[in-house]
Amino acid sequence: MPSRWLLSILTLILASAIVVACNGDNENTETSGKETDGGKPDDFVTLKMIMPGDESARMREFVDNELNDRLKNDLNMKLELTYIPWGSYQQKLELSLSTGEDYDLFWHGTPFVSGYKSKGYIQPLDELLQKYGQNLIKNIPAENFKLDQIDGKQWAIPSQAFTSAGKFTSVMVRQDLLESVGMTEIRTIADLEAFYRKMHAIDPSYYGYLETDRGHEVLWRELSGENLTAFDERNLFAVNEDTGELVNYVESDLYKKVAHLREDWVKKGIIDKNLVGNPQSKIDQENAGKLLFRVGAVSRAMENLQTAQKADSGAKLREYFLAPDKPRYIVAPSNEAYMIPAAAKHAERAMMFMNWILKSKDNYNFIIFGVEGKYYRIENGKIKLLTNDQLMYEWMWRNKNYFTAPTNVPDDVVRDMLHNDDNAKISRLFGFHFNEEPVKKEMAQVLTVYKEKFDLINSGLVGYNSGFSSAMTALKKAGYDKVFAELKKQFNEFNAGRP
């Protein structure tokens, strides 16, 4: 009997040894397939995403370590971010899109959605949104989604869900410097000029005004008796909110007033003519804490505070509307649009990733600020940032449900921001998308001429009287009238079509 036992045991050993030997290399076999019950997909992917700005070492370390560990765990993916500096963002982004590089997700402003849709750069998201985007639907008002709907389809995710009325029509000032010259607030253009004059008298190294994007609407509130909303950031057209008429802004008296004012500012030194052609230098001035005021964007006082305080720890920022009693208009409740390129390889995962961001406050804080305790702390219900950069700009995903005010931002600034939309009106431009396709050629020419001729007038380097008529002639030659006619036509159709 024992010999029979011995035999069976030996056979068993041999058999198991063979089985082990055969299975030895199968450990790494991956199972591929769709999704498991927990919503975590089975296949591991690398999501490629384009972001504007610069990547700091801290951001990169966070992505490579904590974030991608978390994303692997939650979504079985890793994030690969390509940062394009702000100055060349649009140009490089469009180059990537037009050459069909396989990025999966990118951000841009809402006004670009329509153009990218007509160029075929992006794909409709309705199905993906319904299937994977329930947290987006839950946390972003349905109205915001309408912004990015064209031809009945959703083309982008309006990632921001916050206050937005009168965006780009306010002015942001260095409140601490304003107070240091004995002023308390800005209500008129004269206040701005006085602020510069007083400050410059104390320290001539301060730089007056920075214009990196649209800057005309700030002045309109005071210089125009009507309620005008700019059509877009290109300062060509506007809508009269009272009458609903489209305004040919460049040829209007208002433009003339603005141009004269700028000319005056150059003379006064508020605009430094030596820096006008050197955009990065202007930003360097702001980063160096030498800027007195610039265009506001509802929450810029909060967003830029950190940078300002880095250069001058006592810095305070505040946004003001000139002619504060005039109404504010909501053109786009979210100017931020996340789009999925048509060439995306992992569109589903891109949607799941966005959904993940708004899934919980924890995720939201994690992707924006990083690891709690390491990159930020919560103090008295406010967030204290321990770093000076954010992986994703907080404003991109700012959401009423998850927003936490930073500790360094004064309560009145937060209050301004949270109550910005109180009593705001919906702009007549809300939901309108200009399809540039019919006047594509003219539009390109108009923009080139505008840049060559009008930028100089806008910045005050060339006087309106001396430069305008030739510039306008060139603009008309480029097809300006045709563009305006097409815009009017489309806008009338848009108005006719709405209830």
Partner: protein, 586 residues
């Protein structure tokens, strides 16, 4: 060798089979390991050379951008704003230079800060990026990819100034600066890592290495002492070195990036790469060892289960051969050998049985015949007969004397004819009638009669089988009997069962005596033959088998009947001379 025949042979065969396999495997394993190591080295070499080449190229390219800007008229003109005079011209020149710089900085994936600095006017034109600002202090002499550090981090800087000599009091007019941050290099190293490098770093002896973002810094610190040797190596002669850290062996490959003077370094955990191969090898050897061990076990089992029982069987056979028939197989193993052992035991038993029976029978047969012969030479009988003949002659009864003499002579001739052992019933009856005639003549106290089935007459029976029965009747039945005795000899056939009985009308025997007699008959095999009746019974059994024999019972006429019964052998054939053989069927 003889003792372990099968065992040893099997072992040798196994060795012959296994050895070439093991040798071949060892050779092929060594070859593949070498080839693999060389391939890995070659791949890594190519990878590191081309990447270092690309990095070198890139920095050279940035350097050429620097020269382009340095030579640009627009850049020069901006150094002397008073000469330009016109705001608009300055704006256009500024914008052109700014755009040019941004264009140059925008090429490729690398983010460098490209800037033109005019120290005298304080103007800076640079590529746009928020993070990668210029250092607060530019180097006080022109640098070619110097590695420097300020409170915002480390960077490589490349500058070109006009004029190229200056003092603290007189700053240069123009400085063209290209700066690459360490963080950018870290990003690019991380890219390399995701592109197939295992853990690339940039290394310069005596400086802190530039890591990739997910570098295993602890391990690299462990490898640093070995890396310091790079300094002592002549350029290009050696391209890798080996180092141990964390219990693994690492092959460290390096290639100098000429423009930076730093080395691009990557390491391969060679012992970890080889681990699966080594594991497979170990597994193969251990399985081979296990198989060998199992084969030894199997052959041992075979030896135990076949060879040993077989040997035992042979030993027992030898004992049987030597005449020790009592030898039996004990400790019967399971399986086929149990059957074999059982059969052997059965066979040995049969042999023992047969040999004992034959021996006993021979002895008993001799003994029975001897007894019989003894019984025939009965002096009393002879004396009586002779006395009768004498008196008859004296009485002149010549006829009676002659008859008696004839009977006696026939009787003795028959009884002394010892050559034959068998006789027919007819012959026996004839003898008995002579015997009875003699006795009747002597005593005249009984009659006798035959009642015989004819089929019985030619059957063969042992010689002188009937005479003892008749003698018994004559001697005992009528001794004290007043009546006239009658002896009846009856023969019957019932199928193939033959019966031959001798009955008398004497006083008979008491029943206990009869029983005792029957018992004696039953155990006759083992007993010495003492009485004539037992002798008869035994002889019948010896010839016709155990069913045959003698039975004593009360007769119909009140006396005793002694009955011989036997089964007539098939074919009614005559028995062989010696009275045994095929008739002795069990």
């Amino acid at each position: 060798m003889k003792r372990f025949g099968i065992f040893a042979k099997m072992m040798i065969m196994l060795m012959i089979l296994l050895t070439p396999i093991l040798v071949l495997y060892a050779i092929s394993n060594r070859t593949s390991t070498t080839v693999l190591t060389q391939e890995i080295m070659k791949v890594k070499r190519n990878q590191i050379e081309s990447s270092a080449g690309q990095l070198n190229q890139l920095f050279a390219q940035f350097d050429s951008y620097k020269k382009m800007l340095y030579e640009s008229t627009d850049v020069r003109n901006l150094a002397y704003p008073d000469l330009l005079g016109d705001d608009l011209l300055q704006y256009h020149t500024l914008r052109t230079v700014s755009e040019e710089i941004n264009r140059l900085a925008g090429y490729g994936n690398w983010k460098a800060v490209i800037a033109v600095v005019y120290p005298k006017t304080g103007m800076v034109i640079r590529s746009n990026s928020n993070l990668n600002a210029l250092p607060e202090l530019l180097p006080d002499h022109d640098a070619y990819w110097d590695y420097r550090r300020d409170d915002r981090g480390s960077y490589f800087i490349d500058t070109f100034s006009y004029p190229d000599q200056w003092s603290n009091t007189e700053q240069p007019d123009i400085r063209v600066v290209v700066k690459v941050d360490e963080t950018e290099i870290m990003s690019q190293l991380t890219e390399l890592k995701s592109g197939g490098f295992s853990d690339p770093i940039l290394f310069l002896p005596d400086a802190d290495p530039i890591y990739n973002y997910s570098a295993n810094r602890g391990l690299i610190r462990g490898l640093r002492p070995a890396l310091q040797f790079i300094r002592n190596l002549p350029d290009g002669e050696q391209t890798f070195l080996n180092a141990d850290a964390d219990g693994n062996t690492y092959q460290i490959h390096f290639q100098k990036i000429e423009s930076l003077g730093w080395y691009l370094v990557d390491y391969i955990p060679i012992s970890r790469i080889m681990k699966p191969i080594n594991r497979d090898r170990t597994m193969f050897y251990s399985i081979s060892g296990m198989m060998l061990f199992m084969a030894v076990c199997l052959s041992f089992l075979l030896y135990r289960n076949i060879r040993i029982p077989f040997r035992k069987l042979l030993q027992s056979m030898n004992l049987i051969e030597k005449g020790i028939y009592s030898s039996r197989m004990r400790d019967r193993p399971p399986g086929e050998f149990r059957i074999l052992y059982d059969r052997f035991n059965a066979m040995a038993e049969r042999i023992e049985d047969l040999i004992e029976v034959v021996l006993k029978e021979q002895i008993q047969s001799k003994e029975a015949n001897l007894k019989h012969l003894q019984s025939q030479i009965n002096p009393h009988f002879l004396y009586n007969t002779l006395a009768y003949i004498k008196s008859m002659i004296e009485l002149g009864e010549k006829e009676a004397a002659i008859a008696m003499t004839m009977s006696l002579s026939k009787y003795y001739r028959y009884t002394t004819k010892s050559g034959k052992k068998l006789a027919t019933v007819r012959e026996e009856l004839e003898l008995v009638s002579h015997y009875l005639q003699i006795h009747r003549s002597l005593t005249d106290s009984f009659e006798f009669e035959f009642e015989m089935d004819d089929r019985l007459l030619d059957l063969e029976v042992p010689r002188l089988i009937l005479q003892p029965l008749v003698e018994n009747v004559v001697l005992h039945a009528f001794k004290n009997n007043d009546e006239y005795g009658i002896v009846r000899i009856v023969g019957r056939m019932d199928g193939d069962a033959a019966r031959l009985s001798v009955e008398d009308n004497g006083p008979g025997m008491p029943l206990p005596d009869l029983d005792a007699l029957q018992t004696a008959f039953r155990s006759v095999k083992n007993e010495e033959i003492e009485s004539g009746l037992l002798n008869v019974h035994r002889r019948m059994q010896l010839l016709f088998g155990d069913d045959a024999g003698l039975r004593i019972m009360p007769s119909d006429s009140g006396g005793v009947a002694a009955e011989l019964r036997w089964t007539v052998p098939e074919g009614n054939g005559s028995l062989t001379e010696d009275g045994k053989g095929e008739l002795r069927v069990v």
